[in-house]
């Protein structure tokens, strides 16, 4: 436990320079953009004259030099202040906290779906490499992998929401329904099915394939032959010896994919009108809302860092050899 805490602290401190790089790069990226927050704002107003633009720039501090603004931003960040969103006229932290639960819900469910279903089917396919089951499952997973998630999202919504009317077409919950407690949770779950499906399927396919090929590799190892020589049942060999070891690369993979999944949610959130990070980011970019975009990217990055940290702990639980290397370090 103490070791885990030490690991957490070390990793969090270690990620500070990384997050700093993220912040500075994002800042520079938006600085090099054509058009600034005022241009975007004037546009949303339907026009305005040069004097308005000038006074707006002054009030947003956009008339200062880039270095000065970066410094200002970083020093407020050091006080854990994420700044003020120009496009929304609200504190960035509020906006992020408002959207974070939806994103976490979407990502979490999609990850759970992708990982759960992906590994299970991966085990089914990998239990007998090169068997017919394996070939069919692998081929299907390849097709699912290659279907763009936005297209899948649109089709799912048409089929299940518009044609069959089984599920709501968009949103995170029934608007202004006044539901609470369990009824609300059920309502949200219902709304999540389609977006989670659209987002999760591609990763499910990916996890399936990784699991399958990892199992194929494990099958070749001596300890599997030894397990066979011990006369163990096939299911025990598949689950306890082969799948258990094949899970390790999958955990690593999950960490690497967490950032990609966050990115993938941009399109899904816009198709299913889910107010999450992806859509907020899109609005931040179109609004040239530097503090907001940095805030989002920073939070996403932090999220990825945390997920990876968590996965490292899980990995250490799954692989006893890791603990040895970390011991006392």
């Amino acid at each position: 436990m103490a070791r885990a805490l030490r690991l957490i602290r070390r990793r969090l401190i270690g990620s500070i320079p990384v997050l700093l790089i993220v912040v500075v790069l994002t800042f520079l990226l938006l600085q090099s953009a054509s058009g600034d927050a005022v241009d975007a704002y004037l546009l949303s107003m339907g026009g305005g004259d040069a004097a308005i633009a000038q006074s707006l720039r002054q009030s947003y501090g956009l008339d200062q030099s880039e270095i000065a603004r970066l410094w200002l931003y970083l020093s407020s960040l050091a006080r854990l202040d994420l700044g003020w969103s120009v496009a929304f006229g609200r504190p960035v932290a509020d906006l992020i906290l408002e959207r974070l639960p939806n994103t976490l819900l979407l990502m979490g469910s999609a990850t759970a779906l992708a990982f759960g279903l992906g590994t299970s089917l991966g085990i089914v396919a990998g239990a007998r490499p090169e068997s017919t089951t394996d070939k069919v499952v692998s081929a299907l997973s390849l097709i699912l992998y290659a279907i763009p998630s936005f297209w899948l999202g649109l089709v799912l919504s048409i089929v299940f929401a518009v044609q069959l009317r089984w599920l709501p077409s968009s949103g995170i919950e029934t608007i202004a329904s006044g539901k609470s407690g369990f009824a609300r949770a059920a309502d949200i779950a219902l709304h999540l099915i389609l977006p989670v499906g659209a987002l999760g399927v591609i990763y499910m396919a990916l996890f399936l394939r990784v699991m399958r090929s990892a199992m194929a590799e494990v099958w070749k190892l001596d300890f599997v032959a030894f397990a066979r020589a011990k006369g163990l049942s096939r299911s025990r060999i598949v689950l306890r010896h082969v799948a258990r070891n094949a899970l390790l690369p999958l955990v690593t993979m999950l960490g690497l994919q967490s950032a990609a999944m966050l990115g993938g949610s941009v399109v899904i959130e816009s198709i299913f009108a889910i107010p999450g990070f992806g859509r907020l980011a899109q609005e931040a970019v179109t609004g040239r809302d530097t503090p907001l975009l940095i805030g989002i990217i920073l939070t996403s990055a932090l999220l990825v860092v945390l997920v990876n940290l968590l996965l490292d702990l899980v990995y250490a639980l799954l692989d006893p050899r890791v603990g040895a290397a970390e011991e006392g370090a």
Partner: protein, 257 residues
């Protein structure tokens, strides 16, 4: 004295655990002499070889080789001097770049050290192959297409290519089949007598060491616990480590029990 090693110490840190792989090791090696180095697994034999070859740095200690303070050499001068001390590795396959051909393996040291043109080096490669008993046509073979025994011959050819005065052989014959092992050992002895090369011959098999060594040193837990003439160590071992090694050599029992 060709090589003299004084008080070499080397510690490895893995995590918080510290392993003393070499603990105050000293010995000397004369020209044309073979020193057999015996010891159980983990006693520090390979570490000693790697320190001598300047593949890992020593913590403390001195090495004099051909009259030079060997451990202080660096950069280009070290690279030039490397011609004088060569090594043959245990894992016959891992010691070669998987993309190499036999010819390129032998050409590399010649290119680096001989200063000859490519055409002349071709001839030298052929001579080397011939010397270790391989047909000249082997030059074009990929290193992966030849047998283990042949590979070890190539490794020996590579080691003698720069005309070294010392070759360190780390378990150079342990992975070979007995019939091949014998011919390789013979080749090594022949080369020594021909060129006056000194060997530091590492093995955990005392029977092998006895065949090729003038003297034998026994290592245990990073220390040299016993040194002496080969016959003396085998006939009158003093240390428990040496006795255990001797007892472990399987004896061919030809009479019915």
């Amino acid at each position: 004295m060709l090589l003299s090693v004084e008080n070499l110490t080397k510690r490895y840190l893995s995590g918080s655990r510290q392993t003393t792989a070499l603990d105050d090791v000293s010995f000397t090696l004369g020209k044309g002499e073979t020193l057999g180095l015996a010891g159980v697994s983990g006693s520090g034999k390979s570490t000693l070889a790697r320190v001598l070859l300047r593949l890992v740095p020593a913590d403390t200690g001195k090495v004099h080789f051909e009259g030079e303070d060997w451990l202080t050499l660096s950069g280009a001068s070290l690279r030039r001097r490397r011609a004088r001390m060569q090594m043959v590795f245990q894992d016959v396959l891992a010691a070669f770049n998987p993309r190499a051909t036999v010819g390129s393996v032998l050409d590399d040291p010649l290119r680096i050290h001989s200063g000859k043109r490519a055409r002349d080096r071709k001839q030298d490669v052929a001579t080397l192959l011939d010397r270790v008993g391989l047909p000249t046509g082997f030059a074009d073979r990929s290193i992966r297409e030849i047998s283990g025994g042949q590979r070890q011959r190539v490794a020996i050819a590579r080691a003698i290519a720069t005309r070294p005065s010392l070759i360190v052989l780390d378990e150079a014959v342990s992975a070979l089949d007995v019939s091949i092992r014998e011919t390789i050992l013979e080749l090594l002895v022949e080369l020594q007598q021909e060129r006056g090369i000194s060997y530091l011959f590492i093995s955990h098999d005392l029977a092998v060491l006895r065949a090729v060594s003038h003297r034998i040193a026994v290592m245990d837990a990073g220390r040299i616990v016993e040194t002496g003439a080969a016959s003396q160590i085998i006939d009158r071992p003093q240390s428990p480590a040496a006795r255990a090694l001797i007892a472990a050599v399987p004896r061919l029992v030809t009479d019915a029990r």
